[in-house]
């Protein structure tokens, strides 16, 4: 059960006294961080490392974390983003699996994919389209729609200007719409 803001504040205060309470924070956000890292790296083991490193650092630094009426999730994503940056720096590039995208796109263009997506409740194919978007657009769309961060928060997490983030989001959505309307 996700924590509400009030519970989260309480849990963080308790965690500063008793590290075991961090389990609640972990339980609430580990999947989201993993999904974010996995979506951006397309590598499960890297996503696992990033998630573990994010929460380990957060646990180490929890005493430095000051509550500002914003979910700790925001802080966790900032840490995860930095971990991803370090990963990208080491890898020297973003990881994209174009073969997978091509394979997933297949030859079904022209049908009402969107309705089928919803009917099938899978969204796999849409995901292939998202992966074809520019990196920032894909990341912003996921942060916005998956995690419901506002644009200001996304700008801070990604280190981009607010206007850039908004543009990446709307252009990405428009692009997806175009592709899906073919």
């Amino acid at each position: 059960m996700p924590l509400n803001l009030s519970q989260e504040k309480d849990v963080i205060a308790k965690t500063k006294r008793d590290r075991r309470y961090f389990g609640l924070i972990f339980q609430s956000y580990a999947k989201a961080i993993y999904a974010y890292a996995y979506a951006l790296t397309k590598d499960k083991s890297v996503a696992e490392d990033i998630t573990a490193a994010t929460f380990s650092l957060a646990l180490d630094k929890i005493n430095d974390f000051s509550w500002q009426e914003v979910s700790i999730k925001y802080w966790l994503f900032q840490i995860a983003r930095n971990k991803l940056k370090a990963h990208w720096r080491d890898k020297n590039k973003l990881v994209f699996n174009h073969d997978l995208i091509d394979q997933q796109l297949g030859s079904e263009a022209g049908v009402d994919i969107l309705n089928r997506l919803i009917d099938q409740e899978t969204a796999d194919r849409l995901d292939a389209y998202i992966n074809q978007l520019p990196n920032l657009s894909a990341e912003v769309i996921r942060l916005k729609i998956w995690e419901e961060f506002d644009f200001n928060q996304i700008a801070r997490i990604t280190g981009k200007h607010l206007s850039t983030v908004k543009m990446a989001y709307y252009r990405g959505l428009a692009k997806l719409n175009d592709w899906l309307s073919i």
Binding site: K16, Y21, L24, K31, Y38, E48, L176
Partner: protein
């Protein structure tokens, strides 16, 4: 974009998240990485033992560990080089709060005020305290005995503790206890207990630990007082836990404390546990061996306190380090191979390093580590050690580098670095075969020191490399070995002529002193003897280097995350299909039971089953219930909402369980016995909080049993009354447990126990 289309699109994107979420195995692995650390095998020596688990340094680790093992088993370590381990472990466990640097004038004032105050007292309490440190295997590691003089009428006291390397004076000002640690020149703050107003504390009372420093309170949890026994004596036990990172870069470690007080609330002992290898292990004990009230006129306070204000030369706060050294409350005995007592100490709190250096040295921070690494990001700290002999004498340097493999000491010909394949420090060049550098020595804390010389056309240094394989940091001292003075170089660009003249004068002095017969030259290789004399103390500086992060590393804790900590159990009830229905303040769920395991179609009538005795602890953290195992054996199980697990406390076989109840402190009382066998009736007390405090280390996860109940359970055989006992009740007014034989407890109570008699 059409609005409906956009909604569909957003919805579809949201749904796509699920394909990226981790499975249970992945979550379990991530959780393990976050919450479970590799446990050390021995506290205080984690640096070495940890190396075993690091393949990159496995060979070096084995060599070092073999040395440590040889040292540890020989007994040689006590007074000699490894004394640092013992000493540091001790200081950090005893003076466990953050050091507070302050004016010695203030300390002197405190001491004097205490003397003045005690002058009016006719009686003093004199105690002799023994502090015992245990090895993880339970053997005594070290004992220190100290005297303490205390005002009989208050908590104020003054004592002198004899540490291995010198005394520490402690002053209690009635609010905080100030520890004056002469060696480290610091005053430490400790707490003392504020007993609740209105008399003696009793079981269940909450007590406060007072302190000016909020950070102390921030880390202390589970403060409570219970009754119990200590060395066979009934005592009040103040218990609490304290977890904190000792230094910024450490993970916090939970320590568990118990303070024992007799019936007069007189402090008689204390124990400390810490998690070692995931096990709560007794590491320290304080025993009051002697307690006597002495007449004031039998002693002389000035002699007891031995504070000679006249020896305090300079009381300026800004020079607190120098002041501290001159405060000879008692004469500290410097370590025989260590630095002089009047040496200064360089302490860097951020990187937790410390070393002593001669009084004539000046230390300043430098800007880069180019001498020992070509990676600017790896440079944590660099210092210039100036012996203040002459501006023309080369300076020594200290470097702290992040990353064993980032160290690269490049000379004109040779390169010194760590070879990750050989797991050794090597010196290499383009033309000669590489050579493995041996361990040259060890620091006070036992860290290995590798020494090698390297340089170029103007300077050759002796490099003393002190790697910390665990923290992946390397400390390097560079002391000049050879140096060529060039008076043609501009030492002061704005005063070139002046500088050159001074330089030539310096050269002349050296030439004359060493009879070099090379008068008048602008260039001179300083003689080795001269450099050696300038840096004659280099060995002592290096060997005194202390990096607490390795030398006294605390064992890395293993956290079992709490899941569901906000939840409290409200009730538990057997359902018709033989499940235990648990209602919490957040949800309702079913737990499996042993009923009906062999017959899935069995219907349970709660009224006919013993499980009806499911009972919730006062804290709402636990639900205890009687279950059946194997279709016949009665067992007591406890469900923990924090951990989401049901654990079997005890299997009572075919004997009956006639009562289950929680006491206010979550201790569980269970009455059991064979029906009709009147001399085999028992009451068993389980300390549930204590049992779950080590979850899941003390649990057999296959059988879901506590692996060792011995220290947290107590069994009392009930007297034969010629009838079966039928129930238990807790009498809050009298704080006792009543046992009765019929359905009416008040009318048929046949036995009553003080809780103290029953609790483990």
């Amino acid at each position: 974009m059409d609005k409906n289309h956009k909604i569909k699109l957003v919805k579809a994107i949201k749904q796509s998240k699920s394909r990226y979420e981790p499975g249970q195995d992945t979550m379990a692995e991530i959780k393990r990485q976050v919450f479970v650390s590799t446990p050390p095998t021995r506290y205080g020596w984690r640096t070495f033992t940890a190396n075993f688990s690091q393949p990159a340094y496995g060979v070096a680790g084995l060599v070092v560990a073999a040395l440590v093992l040889a040292v540890a088993t020989s007994g040689w370590y006590r007074p000699a080089k490894l004394a640092g381990y013992i000493q540091q472990t001790f200081i950090f466990s005893f003076n466990k709060f953050l050091p507070l640097h302050m004016s010695i004038a203030y300390a002197a004032g405190q001491i004097q005020a205490e003397i003045n105050r005690l002058q009016d007292k006719s009686n003093l309490v004199h105690t002799v305290t023994r502090l015992i440190m245990y090895k993880p295997n339970g053997q005594v590691d070290q004992q220190i005995t100290y005297d303490l003089w205390q005002d009989n009428a208050s908590a104020r006291f003054k004592n002198i503790v004899e540490y291995a390397d010198g005394p520490v004076v402690q002053v209690n000002d009635g609010f905080n206890r100030w520890d004056l640690d002469i060696k480290d020149k610091t005053l430490n703050v400790e707490h003392y207990v504020n007993v609740p107003a209105g008399g003696q504390p009793k079981a269940g009372d909450q007590v406060k630990l007072l302190s000016q420093f909020q950070q102390i309170l921030d880390h202390q949890t589970d403060l409570k007082i219970n009754q119990g026994k200590y060395n066979g004596r009934p005592v009040l036990i103040l218990s609490f836990s304290d977890d904190r990172a000792w230094r910024d870069k450490d993970k916090p470690q939970t320590l568990y404390y118990e303070y024992y007080f007799d019936a007069d609330f007189k402090f008689i002992g204390q124990k400390t546990w810490r998690l070692i290898g995931g096990q709560k292990t007794l590491t320290e004990e304080m025993v009051i061996d002697k307690y006597e009230i002495i007449k004031r006129d039998q002693t002389d306070l000035d002699k007891i306190f031995k504070f000679d204000r006249s020896q305090t030369e300079d009381l300026k706060v800004t020079e607190v380090y120098r002041d501290a050294v001159s405060l000879e409350v008692m004469t500290p005995t410097p370590p025989p191979t260590g630095p002089q007592s009047d040496w200064q100490t360089y302490i860097n709190d951020r990187y937790q390093i410390k070393f002593k250096y001669p009084d004539n040295y000046a230390i300043s921070q430098n800007s880069n580590c180019t001498g020992v690494t070509n990676n600017p990001d790896a440079c944590l700290l660099t210092l210039i050690l100036d012996p203040n002999i002459s501006q023309f004498v080369p300076k020594a340097h200290f470097y702290l580098v992040q990353g064993i493999d980032k160290v690269l000491i490049s000379g004109q010909i040779f390169i010194i670095k760590f070879d990750t394949k050989q797991k050794s420090w090597i010196v290499t060049s383009g033309t000669q075969p590489q050579k493995v550098l041996p361990v040259w020595g060890r620091t006070l804390l036992g860290q290995e020191i590798i020494m090698a010389e390297n340089g170029g056309s103007q300077i050759y240094n002796n490099y003393y490399i002190i790697p910390d394989y665990e923290e992946n940091e390397v400390a390097v001292f560079a002391f000049p070995k050879n140096f060529k003075v060039y008076c043609t170089q501009a030492m002061y660009p704005n005063h070139l002529e002046l500088s050159r003249a001074r330089c030539k004068q310096f050269i002349k002095q050296i030439v004359d002193q060493y009879d070099l017969g090379d008068d008048g030259d602008d260039i001179l290789w300083l003689p080795d003897e001269y450099i050696q004399s300038v840096y004659a103390q280099a060995d002592k500086i290096i060997k005194n280097f202390q990096n607490p992060l390795s030398g006294m590393s605390q064992s890395a804790p293993t956290y079992e995350p709490i899941i569901g900590a906000n939840e409290k159990i409200i009730s538990g009830q057997l359902t018709n299909d033989c499940k235990l229905k648990v209602v919490t303040n957040q949800q309702t769920f079913l737990l499996p039971t042993g009923y009906g395991q062999d017959d899935l179609n069995l219907k349970c009538n709660p009224a006919n089953y013993r499980l009806v005795q499911a009972t919730v602890s006062n804290s709402g953290k636990y639900l205890a219930f009687i279950d059946i195992d194997g279709g016949i054996d009665a067992s007591i199980k406890v469900y923990s909402i924090e951990h989401g697990d049901t654990v079997t406390l005890n299997n009572f076989g075919t004997s009956g369980i006639f009562g289950v109840l929680f006491l206010p402190n979550d201790a569980l009382m269970v009455g059991s016995g064979f029906k009709g066998v009147y001399d085999e009736q028992f009451v068993t007390a389980f300390d549930i909080n204590a049992l779950f405090s080590n979850y899941p280390v003390n649990i057999d996860k296959t059988a879901m049993l506590f692996t060792d109940l011995s220290s947290h359970q107590k069994v009392v055989r009930l007297p034969d009354i010629g009838r079966d006992y039928t129930g238990l009740e807790y009498d809050q007014t009298k704080n006792q447990l009543n046992l009765f034989t019929e359905s009416s407890p008040s009318a048929d109570t046949v036995q009553a126990y003080e809780l103290e008699e029953l609790l483990p």
